[in-house]
Symmetry: D2
Subunit: 136 residues, 4 copies
């Protein structure tokens, strides 16, 4: 499912808008990098909480997809973000990991750090496996 | 604080990127509208969960700011999103409301609906009031 | 499923320990009451956050069960509690409501209030329907 | 603050009701053990989600208290529980850890495992430091 995850990621117009790239993918883990620009900021010029959360959601989603059966699509059921400090760096890296894969639901955790490993945000997330229509 | 909330919103580069607009603001409540384009989608062409969450976060943040003391800035402490169904409409409206305003923390709830009131997502969020530097 | 929900509630030893009682049940909504005693308190003598959360979890779970197919059992997938103020009253009432019922997952919201409707806590929760073993 | 944390724990009537004991405490980390009995179960005879959550909440709260200034009291702002599998063991151990300690808020994570380290639940939690009244 690694190739399917990469292909699905490229279909997300929103990831293009963020300039986000998968920089690592293996079974159960995905890392996504994003470089700051003026279109990604909150009122003080730091990365927006919505950007941080979007990257963690996607890192969890594709980490989950890598452990799902063939022909699965992945949707987010819920996620929760805690924001520990303003994300003041120019580059951020979101890491999503599968903690427990069930038949239908996959539980993941994620974090966003700078390149030196300074922790900005954490996430708990539940993903669900949907069987794709054959016509797709 | 209504004017301060509107001004702060306009400083968020990320809200420009999303094409998001405040369509209603009063003490304790903010509504934000966003129209779909190809840069806001997930892999099936619907609004991305990250967009929905970003709008709810911002609606909560500025709803909270309207009840904070003068010279406050607002930061998100944490939020949680539940995704009830894919957001298949062309237009979405996020509503954020203050549920309980404390001295430091403001607890809010938000939702995203289409124009007919079909519910897509809900949020619980905690916002914190920060005193602005005088130099700002 | 109203009768099944009531029966299942009575099987929960922990609800007996809390002295909790279902005081209202209808399709998609359950109310549970609990009266304070010294075994339910935190360090300042108020209702413990764990008690408040347990009641909301159970109110959501059985609200969800009332809308599930026959022979379902309900399990909690996840829930999140926000605590707005200390629960200083002698009696608390937890209300759980179904917001969206899917085939597998049921999304609920809950709150705990005192008898006058003073709001103490809120919850977002995801419940899952499990098919019971025939042998049960 | 280790002694204050232990003393405060002993004032929680609800922890007595659960038969919970602190089995490890150091700066930033607390472990709590609980043994199953019929008063702690859900409808299938396993540990109730409310018990698991209560133990994680308390482990986070006292882990947070150990890093707070003298004369602080700790209250829960919010927490979120994900339930990975039914807690079928006879003994459970909740571990709470401080991830980031700010001036007012302390962000913690927790988990519940059996004695062999099988993971049942996880938590993200925000705790707040309250200055105690001198009269206390």
């Amino acid at each position: 499912m690694l190739e399917e995850a990469k292909k699905s990621f490229l279909k997300q117009g929103f990831m293009k808008t963020l300039g986000a790239k998968i920089i690592h993918i293996e079974k159960g883990e995905v890392k996504i990098q994003c470089n700051k620009n003026d279109g990604l900021t909150q009122q003080n010029g730091f990365f927006h909480a919505g950007v941080l959360t979007s990257l963690m959601d996607v890192a969890c989603g594709y980490a989950a997809l890598t452990v799902m059966p063939k022909n699965s699509d992945v949707l987010s059921v819920e996620f929760k973000t805690n924001l520990l400090r303003p994300a003041t760096s120019e580059i951020i890296i979101a890491t999503g990991k599968v903690i427990k894969a069930g038949k239908t639901l996959v539980f993941c955790e994620a974090k966003v750090e700078d390149e030196q490993g300074k922790l900005y945000t954490t996430m708990q997330a539940t993903m669900i496996s949907m069987q794709k229509n054959k016509a797709n």
